[in-house]
Assembly symmetry: C2
Homo-oligomer: 402 residues x 2
């Protein structure tokens, strides 16, 4: 047989997470594994209204091929919102011309990988970092270097050391707001110091901000893109967590030089993101109370975060630690040293509850004593029940381990 795949695809067998996560789709399993928004947050009435209006008002435009960088009305609406939010924090005004619409932020990650990475180049990431980004970049076969990270974010001194001694660093990928998987939000001081280091070395940064709008408490902290005199930051935002992931709409903001390369890839990748959904969201932003809608989401998710954290406090063994995120969709659980969240997974599945084992978030170090929990998707009673089951699994696993 003369079917020969490319080198990277020949090697790639698919994540061993696949079969494991397939288990979580069984209907009687309580899954904390996904990163799904709560369906009740989708503004269906409004999204139906704009669907009709877009087709009525300019159906021929919405249904035709569109520009590879995206529908200008949506790019303008995004620029306006970012400028309203971040210019007061010091961000240079974003021109809609510097925005590219992507089919979910995943596509922005993938295109970024192709624009920057050759085989054996280095990508720096938080330790741990988002597995979807790691998966997208992995198609270009880089080496991942995990930069030490604590509860304030990436540690700038460690980053400096690594940049001083590492060749072929193409960019740094970070999620400063309510990180996936940890839920950690970088402090202002950390962000400033991080950008000082980045500016010194002139290394591009991918600032992934899917969760910044899901802030439950505390003041908003300025994004990296507002501390970026050399325009090294590629900023990524998405409508998946604030509006609806099924629309698959996100965006990148970056400097002209990088954007031109991104656009070359985008055009060859899918010509453009669907015009019709872009127009729907642009019209939604123009005519409805998007900010009010986001506030409602935050209220719901803050409540569910509390339900989950209270249950954890009540039921989990005391030597199991977890984060208390002030936003986002996830919290991060640390097992005692020497434990393996993959082994624990079997105990959990027996009790019909699931999570994502943490090792996939550590592509270099592969640490095994962590796992990720999602608190946004399930109803209160399901969260409480699931945490109880997980506590049982933990107790049984820890007992057997002794």
């Amino acid at each position: 047989m003369a079917i020969h795949f490319s080198e990277v695809l020949s090697k790639m067998k698919g994540s061993d997470l696949g079969p494991l996560l397939a288990l979580t789709a069984q209907p009687d399993i309580i899954s904390f594994a996904g990163g799904l928004p709560a369906p009740r947050t989708f503004p269906l009435k409004e999204l139906t209204e704009v669907a009709v209006k877009v087709r009525e008002e300019d159906g021929a435009g919405a249904m035709q091929y569109g520009p590879s960088l995206g529908f200008m009305g949506l790019r303008q609406a995004i620029a306006d919102r970012m400028n309203r939010m971040y210019c007061p924090m010091g961000m240079d005004k974003v021109d809609p011309k510097n925005i590219m619409i992507t089919t979910g932020s995943q596509q922005g990650l993938d295109i970024t990988g192709r624009v920057f990475i050759d085989k054996d180049d280095v990508v720096l990431i938080e330790s741990p970092s988002y597995l979807g980004a790691i998966g997208a970049f992995a198609l270009e076969q880089p080496k991942f270097v995990e930069v030490p990270t604590d509860d304030q974010g990436m540690i700038p001194e460690e980053l400096d050391k690594i940049l001083a001694t590492t060749d072929k660093v193409k960019f740094i990928y970070v999620i400063p707001n309510y990180q996936n998987p940890t839920g950690i939000c970088w402090s202002l001081e950390r962000r400033q110091k991080f950008m000082e280091v980045v500016t010194k070395y002139e290394i591009p940064v991918f600032e992934d901000n899917p969760y910044g709008d899901l802030r439950f408490e505390g003041e908003e902290i300025a994004p990296l893109v507002s501390m970026d005199p050399k325009h090294l930051v590629i900023y990524s935002g998405t409508f998946s967590k604030t509006l609806a992931p099924g629309m698959r709409l996100a965006w990148l903001v970056c400097n002209d030089e990088i954007l031109a390369k991104m656009d070359l890839v985008k055009g060859s990748t899918d010509l453009s993101t669907p015009c019709v959904t872009q127009r729907e969201v642009a019209m939604y932003m123009e005519n409805y109370d998007f900010e009010g809608h986001i506030k409602e989401n935050c209220k719901l998710y803050a409540h569910r975060r509390d339900v989950m954290c209270d249950a954890i406090k009540k039921y989990f063994p005391s030597d199991v630690k977890s984060t208390y995120p002030h936003g986002g969709l996830f919290l991060w659980v640390e097992l005692p040293e020497g434990c393996d969240a993959r082994d624990l997974f079997k105990y959990a599945i027996e009790r019909k509850v699931a999570y994502v084992p943490g090792d996939s978030f550590f592509p270099a170090s592969g640490k095994r004593n962590y796992f990720r929990l999602n608190f946004s998707y399930n109803d209160d009673d399901v969260i409480e029940d699931g945490v109880k089951r997980l506590a049982d699994a933990l107790k049984a696993y820890l007992a057997d381990k002794k």
Copy 2:
């Protein structure tokens, strides 16, 4: 500055077609350059009805994350339609499990490039071939080998010779129905002989079929996928030309082994194509007369083809040849030997008419005495006027050349 792009993106400057085609967007230019369907063919009333129904009936499902291979309802509807059309012609029944939904057929091309091509691998194509496919594959840096092609399609004996003597051929990319750019439809005999050669060498084939449904006259000719005992064909279909390109919906059909690789890339590329548009089209196929709609499109396009061909006959100099396609969106014009369609382009733009110069469709040979005309987009009088202007340009160019 420490911004270093990947090797391929460092080299890639963007097609020099870009600035040239930008000219064609000027409002007073008659453009035959794009591949745009006629907006009046978009079934807006029906697409509005399904947009509302999908949101009302299962809005939460439509707006949530979906499976990377696509919405099963749409995959099933596509499998049913293909089986209805092609099983009587000998195709093995397509299982919806072997279908992947993509964001336009462009994404299927891009993913195929990533699944198969390493730098300096060989991709065989018709001479000439579709520039969007060439652009997508080019991101993986293959060598393109143009297989000699005549008015019956690719010449199997030439293909056999090339396969016998060429290393690292990863796949063959072909458009057997109303090809882009030539409008040529492969004869049945050519298809059979082509598949004999392919089956002998066991080389994967990408059968791109965006235009097969736009058949104006003659009997339907069996697709390559119906002559494929070894399941080497990756079949690609799209809704862009039959329904609306703004939905960005297309599909691939391939064997399990290839599909698994495609799926790995798809998941990392954008997680999935938008769920909401997938459900809309599935519902459209189920509840409306898709076949009747396609017939109406064909009637319109056949008429416009005739308007253009009649005008060409009437106005073009007699030493300029062109194809008379029996379907699709394009025809192909051949200038006398030694002419250059890029030079002619200046004469055309002066007279406010545009086309795509042919050299971009010949990535290896770069032949310059051809250009492509689209006949689907413009109204009758605009087509007639544009062809007249083009005839003027031709006459002036040929006179100056003497």
